[in-house]
């Protein structure tokens, strides 16, 4: 127990140390960098596993979580305490975070072409262009090593540190610190290839968009601190009296209780971080970073953090809930989550970039989790968070592997106009890249919820079952979204791997090395296997073999009053999820079996003009540009500058000037010239002020000592007056 508590503190340390060591010392050596980075990830991974299995074996973990606290900031007599805590939710979270992070680290070594020669004309800040090597007498081009190899491992180490901190935090402030560290790292890593203008734009966009959410979240934290005087999860979330008080106090805004307002503010943070509906725009652009970063952002860390935070704060969100009556934050979550799930899924239908499809599917799946939490399905949301992390990491890393294989082909043909990420340039990669194909297939099936065998099925099915029991609206929206998910996943798999190669490059694609496929295989196992821990006991047939371990483990991490037994089994959602998954997959294969090019996408004919909308993501970027950016520009140009500055202020000043000019004229003609000049000025009047001026300007000598003397005179004069009057 003591050792475990100590070990928890050590979990986030190795990646942070790796960051500093690489930045300060090892940055010249690529080998040392990746060894330190991967080594740190492995250490954290091992430690996490130890902690996780300790947590699994512990009795009453929900009531007595692992962890310890330290004094941190001295605050007016008391100390603000920070601490780390492992309760069931954190235990599950470090489990998936540690595994995916470790896999991503390993994968990155291969992805950045470790072991390849230096590029011919690679510049730091741009992706490697390939190196020419002479072998057996003839030249050919091979992939070249990333020029900023060490930098990548430093940043990603810091990223992992942020995620571990966030997951293990036992108070909201520490969580927020991890949250912001990840924000910074996502900024740095999305713009990793800062030579590309698009990457620069994307990094700024991601940073600013998430910042919008973060501001509200900080407000929420501040509100929570002022109303409770603590930010510790134990003290707030597991104390029914505090929650009652929060839920029954009126905040004065929109008729919300303090708990409601805090919940909504925190949830807006999640909207930013987890790319929910109005603030989702940054996530697809985040694809500009290297693929391991995409996996990191989409699966292991960044966006999961947003969902993790709301799951963590669920008792607060649900404070005041009575008999299934949703609280305002939950209502907002259910609405925004389900809208996001459907909306992102539709966009994914029309994307041709292999990573963008996955990006929108991530948004969609996060919408699932948020919606599930909104209707109170705490366990299901967590379950889906974990399974999603595994299969989405798998899919992203798989797509990176595909892109790598395609780049191989590009280097072979030398035609650099072929986009290695466009799915219409692929096809038939099944035979070229068998390991990537099979793992990708597993990931894709898990994403679509292929029945029974995949983990995605179990978590999605649980969400749908919960939705069926709690809210018909959410259920139907999610079911449609699930159908679309299966459809576009199959579209992706079909276009990428099945059929015949559409380009020469695809013909010369090449399976990637074991650095990359190894993690894929590990993740594929988890994408299948992890579902088994959450099979409902009432599931026909299989349920007899299951004790629904996850539900009991996680459910007991909740306060007593929120804990609910697993739902009774119901046939309708199961059939629905079977139908949407299999139907979507089948339809996807049937439609895209042999589509030769993007122009002949059958969806285009069916959807017509709507397809263009989808292709352009509902014109969201344009809408934001029109709604916020252009008005801001317009406002600053037209209103602030032209109207206020030029017209109002300048105009007023001009008016004043004219008036005074006119007045001055009158004075001059009728007072100044006759009275002052003639009468006084020509005699003593002119001389006196001039003399005074001459004397006075000596004060401003420009020499500092004069000023000092004056200041001293004033100071000591003041002292004298003070002393005398005090006497």
């Amino acid at each position: 127990m003591e050792m475990t508590n100590l070990l928890i503190w050590l979990l986030p340390v190795p990646p942070l140390l790796a960051f500093f060591i690489i930045v300060l010392f090892a940055n010249r050596s690529n080998k040392a960098s990746w060894m330190i980075g991967v080594g740190a990830a492995a250490l954290s991974f091992l430690g996490s596993m130890v902690v996780f299995f300790q947590a699994v074996g512990a009795e009453h973990l929900g009531e007595h979580p692992f962890g310890s606290r330290l004094d941190w900031l001295p605050l007016n007599g008391a100390h603000f305490q920070i601490g780390l805590m492992v309760d069931p939710l954190s235990a599950i979270a470090i489990f998936f975070v540690a595994i995916t992070v470790f896999m991503i680290f390993i994968y990155s070594v291969g992805y950045h072409n470790w072991g390849q020669p230096k590029g011919d004309d690679d510049i730091p800040g741009l992706p490697p262009h390939g190196a020419t090597v002479v072998e057996h007498g003839h030249e050919h081009v091979v992939p070249s090593i990333e020029p900023m190899f060490a930098r990548f491992f430093a940043f990603i180490g810091l990223f992992a540190f942020g995620m571990f901190t966030l997951v293990l935090a036992d108070n909201l402030l520490l969580l927020f610190i991890g949250w912001e560290i990840m924000g910074l790292c996502s900024y740095l890593l999305i713009g990793f290839w800062y030579g590309k203008p698009s990457a620069r734009a994307a990094m700024i966009k991601a940073f600013i968009t998430t910042r919008v959410g973060d501001v509200f979240m900080l407000l929420g934290i501040a509100l929570l601190y002022t109303s409770t005087g603590t930010l510790s999860f134990r003290a707030i979330l597991f104390d029914e009296q505090v929650l009652q008080a929060l839920a029954s106090t009126d905040s004065g805004f929109f008729g919300l209780s303090v708990a409601g307002l805090t919940g909504i503010l925190l949830f807006i943070g999640t909207i930013g971080k987890s790319a929910q509906f109005p603030l989702h725009v940054w996530l697809p652009d985040a694809m500009e970073g290297p693929t391991p970063v995409s996996a990191m952002i989409h699966a292991a860390a960044m966006v999961s953090a947003g969902v993790y935070m709301v799951i963590r704060m669920f008792p607060l969100m649900a404070a005041g809930m009575e008999h299934g009556h949703l609280t305002p934050p939950m209502y907002a979550m259910a609405l925004i989550g389900s809208v996001t799930a459907l909306f992102a899924a539709t966009i994914a239908l029309a994307q041709n970039d292999v990573k963008r499809v996955l990006a929108y599917s991530t948004i969609s799946q996060l919408g699932y989790m948020v919606a599930a939490l909104g209707i109170g399905a705490y366990v299901a949301a967590t379950f889906h968070l974990v399974t999603h992390a595994f299969f989405k990491a798998l899919l992203f890393l798989g797509s990176g592997s595909v892109i790598h294989g395609m780049e191989h082909g590009v280097l072979h043909t030398g035609d650099h106009h072929v986009d290695p990420q466009n799915m219409y340039n692929m096809g038939g990669l099944k035979d070229k890249m068998p390991r990537t194909f099979w793992t990708f297939l597993i990931g894709g099936f898990a994403l679509s919820g292929f029945p029974v065998v995949t983990a995605g099925f179990w978590s999605k099915d649980e969400i749908l079952a919960d939705a069926w029991a709690h809210s018909q609206f959410v259920f139907w929206v999610l079911a449609i979204a699930a159908f679309l998910t299966a459809f576009y996943t199959m579209r992706q798999i079909t276009l990428t791997f099945l059929g015949k190669p559409r380009t020469k490059e695809a013909e010369h694609a090449h399976e990637t090395n074991l650095w990359m496929t190894g993690p894929l295989m590990v993740l594929a196992v988890l994408a299948i296997g992890f579902g088994w821990v959450g099979i409902p006991e009432s599931f026909p047939g299989l349920g007899n073999y299951s004790n629904n371990w996850l539900h009991h483990f996680l459910g007991h991490g909740l306060p007593e009053w929120l804990y609910t037994e697993a739902l009774e089994f119901s046939w309708f959602p199961l059939i629905a999820s079977l139908v949407v998954a299999l139907g979507g997959l089948g339809l996807g294969y049937a439609v895209y079996k042999d589509v030769p090019s993007a122009e002949e996408d059958p969806l285009k004919k069916v959807l017509g003009g709507f397809h263009t909308w989808l292709e352009n993501k509902y014109y969201f970027d344009e809408a934001y540009d029109f709604l916020f950016i252009q008005p801001a520009k317009w406002f600053s140009e037209k209103v602030v500058f032209q109207l206020m500055d030029r017209k109002l202020i300048d105009g007023f000043l001009h008016l004043v000037a004219r008036v005074t000019y006119w007045l001055g004229g009158i004075f001059r003609n009728y007072f100044d010239i006759p009275v002052v000049n003639r009468l006084i000025g020509d005699t003593l009047g002119g001389a006196v002020p001039q003399w005074f001026g001459k004397q006075l300007r000596k004060v401003q000598t420009g020499a500092i000592q004069t000023y000092m003397i004056l200041a001293m005179v004033v100071a000591f004069g003041g002292l004298f007056v003070f002393m005398i009057t005090m006497r």
Binding site: R697, Q700, T701, G702, A703, Q705, M708, M712
Partner: protein, 102 residues
């Protein structure tokens, strides 16, 4: 025994001398010398107060630490400025550095 007043008078006089140096010397470095004298006067005061009023408490010494830090920082920056001004304008006289004159 030496009464507290002696130290205070000494410090006040030293402060006055330093003040004179700051106000009257032409050379910027000489002004810095004056500032050092004034800071020393402050230190004498602080330590005298510590010894005579609160010998069991080191708060006064903490302030002495701060004075030392400020003195070191001030000399470093000040001399760097003097040297850089001297490079540019070839003078180190405070009354010749009067670009802000009327």
């Amino acid at each position: 025994m030496i009464p507290l007043s002696w130290y205070l008078i000494l410090a006040a006089l030293l402060f006055g001398i330093g003040l004179f140096g700051v106000l009257a010397r032409k050379n910027v470095i000489a002004i810095l010398l004056g500032i050092e004298l004034m800071l020393n006067a402050v230190n004498i005061n602080l330590l005298a107060f510590w010894r005579y009023l609160t010998p069991g408490d080191v708060t006064a010494q903490i302030f002495t630490v701060m004075v030392f830090v400020v003195a070191a920082a001030e000399v470093a920056v000040g001399l760097a400025l003097v040297i850089s001004v001297w490079r540019k304008r070839d003078t180190a006289y405070a009354d010749e550095l009067d670009m802000l004159k009327w």
